[in-house]
């Protein structure tokens, strides 16, 4: 397949644009998604110019109605791709997401569905403080009916975006700000990546590292360091949290017997807990040592860069966790 180098951000935008060309019911909405605002939003990127204000809809600062209106539009026939400028604002629209979008299909016995994508930019990158830095995927993971996608590469950003837009269920699509400008080869055309299929990003035999989004490159970095110390780590990029590719995790643990999960979200009840719990149940007999989680500590995200650098898990911390079970 033809491909070209592009950034994660451009690749996601290409995915959206392709779907908009293919399907007239796909539209975007959110704060600063239109022409002027692209300096701020994650989306846009040429999309506005091509499609105009009917299909790329700038909204007031009303996260509740951004998500809430999307539920109604999706139920009757549109495919909204709406966005939160920061994932930190999820609490403002959690009712619409959890009580309306996610429940609609089950509760109405299949009469309605909510095919919508909620794009959220996540992560602590530039020092932006406690309200502009969070990774809150765990909240969504505890809501039956949602899907959660968190790509780590440009190609996946495109391929998973297209799949998410075509999915008939509400999808929370997480774009980590540290990844937006990262480049990669991206297949041209109608390129899709299925949800629920993890990728073994690096094969290894001594320990399994499970991650998603920006923690994947961090795990690869850790794996590199570990290799130098003679420890051969396998790195699994989940790509989607819900559906979760249990098989990929369990078969890797079957090989390595050791599991370390890394995420940028705070520790307690982060999605790492679910993975650990799943393996401690379904993969217990495969385990040779304790399951470690490498996460942000249980605090609000501090603003000062001097503190922030200790907040976000890094390769050294992942390496150190692996060492404790090696």
């Amino acid at each position: 397949m033809e491909s070209k180098m592009m950034t994660f951000q451009a690749a996601a935008a290409e995915g959206v644009a392709q779907e908009m060309r293919r399907d007239p019911t796909v539209y975007c909405a959110g704060e600063e998604v239109s022409a002027h605002g692209q300096a701020y939003g994650v989306s846009g990127q040429g999309v506005f110019e091509e499609f105009g204000e009917k299909r790329v809809r700038n909204t007031p600062i009303i996260e509740t109605a951004i998500v809430g209106h999307a539920v109604g539009a999706a139920a009757v026939g549109l495919r909204p791709v709406v966005e939160l400028m920061f994932m930190d604002f999820l609490g403002i629209c959690m009712d619409e997401l959890a009580n309306q979008a996610a429940k609609m299909h089950y509760m109405f016995a299949g009469q309605y569905k909510a095919p919508m994508v909620l794009r959220v930019s996540s992560g602590a990158v530039r020092p932006a403080g406690a309200h502009h830095s969070q990774s809150l995927e765990a909240w969504a993971a505890h809501v039956p009916g949602l899907k959660i996608v968190a790509p780590s590469t440009a190609a996946d950003a495109k391929g998973l975006m297209i799949t998410s837009i075509r999915d008939d269920n509400p999808v929370v699509f997480i774009e980590h700000r540290a990844l937006l400008s990262v480049e990669g080869e991206v297949p041209a055309g109608d390129y899709t990546v299925p949800l629920g299929k993890a990728r073994v990003t690096r094969e290894g035999s001594d320990v399994t590292l499970v991650a998603w989004s920006a923690m994947v490159p961090t795990c690869l970095e850790a794996a590199g360091e570990l290799a130098a110390e003679g420890i051969d780590a396998e790195v699994i990029d989940l790509r989607s949290l819900i559906p979760l590719d249990k098989e990929a995790i369990l078969s890797s643990v079957a090989k390595t017997g050791k599991l370390v999960i890394a995420h940028e979200a705070t520790r307690t009840n982060g999605f790492g807990a679910e993975i650990a719990a799943m393996v401690a149940d379904e993969g217990f007999d495969l385990l040779k040592s304790p399951i470690r989680r490498v996460t942000a500590p249980d605090i609000p995200v501090p603003c000062s860069p001097a503190l922030l650098k200790h907040f976000v898990p890094n390769a050294q911390k992942i390496r150190a966790a692996v060492i404790t079970i090696s």
Binding site: G72, G77, F108, G145, N169
Partner: protein
């Protein structure tokens, strides 16, 4: 506009069917046949009947916890509604939804809803669909006086007003949210005044007068169909029962309550039909009798409808 030219008898029938449906539920609830609580619409029938009389089958309605009236008026099948309230597989949602989560996608009914104020953003998005697809359909959003204080009200009307969406927000002001009176929960008299915050028309109507409701809604809906945008209509009405089936509603002054009961929308409409010679006493009686027969059948259907089995539990989380 007066009663002439209107299908007043049709609206009368609609109201009687709603009332009869609700009273049957109350009877069954008292007999222990209905699981859980139900929010009855009795007394407020003129709102659903008057507004929805203006709608086509391809228009949309987004409803509330007190939503049976909206569903019935939009064409909902009382047997499937009742069975849903009873928690049976014959119900609209095979019992999964219940009274507060009852939908009919074929009729554009986006469901009753358990979250007060949730109807507003949903209806806004439905309105966007109507406009986006270049239809002349409209989205009608019902909500209560209590719901009008929620943030969703503000954000939805803001969005609909700037996007000029064909949404008619219909506030059913029955003077109470549970035991809390309008005077306690807001500092103004007319919720319709809030339309000014969004630069859209706001209208107060006597919500017990089905003709007045019909006419106000007609104006708003015609405007919306032709690209004229959003309207807020406040219908002042009264619920005949407590907040839900178990509520004796002691908090309402009995004198005030009785006064309001005098304005029963069905009685008023009946009197109008008779006085204008649009129907005979016998015709009206027939409407009642038919409704009773229909709702008896709905109860019968519901009681005989099977309970869902355990193997249905995990069916349908995701759309495939």
């Amino acid at each position: 506009m007066g009663a002439t030219g209107l299908d007043l008898l049709g609206m009368y029938r609609c109201m009687v069917r709603i009332r009869t449906f609700e009273e049957h539920i109350l009877t069954e609830w008292r007999a222990g046949e209905v699981p859980g609580e139900v929010h009855l619409y009795s007394g407020e029938e003129a709102v659903a009947a008057g507004v929805i009389a203006n709608l086509r089958v391809d228009d949309y309605v987004v409803s509330t916890h007190r939503g049976h009236g909206h569903v019935l008026a939009k064409g909902g099948d009382p047997a499937r509604m009742m069975a849903e309230v009873f928690g049976r597989t014959g119900g609209y949602c095979r019992g999964k939804g219940g009274t507060m989560h009852m939908a009919d996608a074929t009729l554009g009914i986006l469901g009753t809803n358990g979250i007060v104020g949730a109807s507003l953003p949903i209806a806004t998005g439905v309105g966007l669909y109507c406009q986006y697809m270049a239809t002349d359909r409209v989205s009608v959003c019902f909500f209560g006086d209590g719901a009008s204080n929620r943030g969703t009200f503000h954000e939805s009307l803001d969005l609909a007003s700037i996007w000029k969406l064909p949404v008619i927000y219909v506030c059913e002001n029955n003077y109470y949210g549970m035991a809390t009176s309008v005077e306690e929960h807001m500092n103004i008299n007319d919720i319709a005044e809030r339309a000014a915050s969004y630069g859209i028309p706001g209208v107060v109507v006597d919500g017990n007068d089905v003709v007045a409701v019909h006419d106000a809604a007609a104006e708003a809906i015609i405007r919306a169909r032709s690209g004229g945008g959003t309207t807020l209509i406040e219908c002042k009405t009264w619920r005949h029962h407590g907040h839900f089936t178990a509520d004796p509603a002691y908090y309402r002054d009995p004198d005030v309550h009785n006064e309001h009961l005098q304005r029963d929308p069905i009685i008023r409409c009946g009197a109008l039909l008779l006085s204008q010679g649009l129907a005979t006493k016998e015709a009206l009686d027939a409407v009642h009798n038919e409704a009773i027969a229909e709702m008896n059948a709905a109860v019968e259907f519901s009681k005989n409808s099977p309970w869902p089995e355990e193997d249905e539990l995990l069916v349908g989380l995701y759309a495939e």
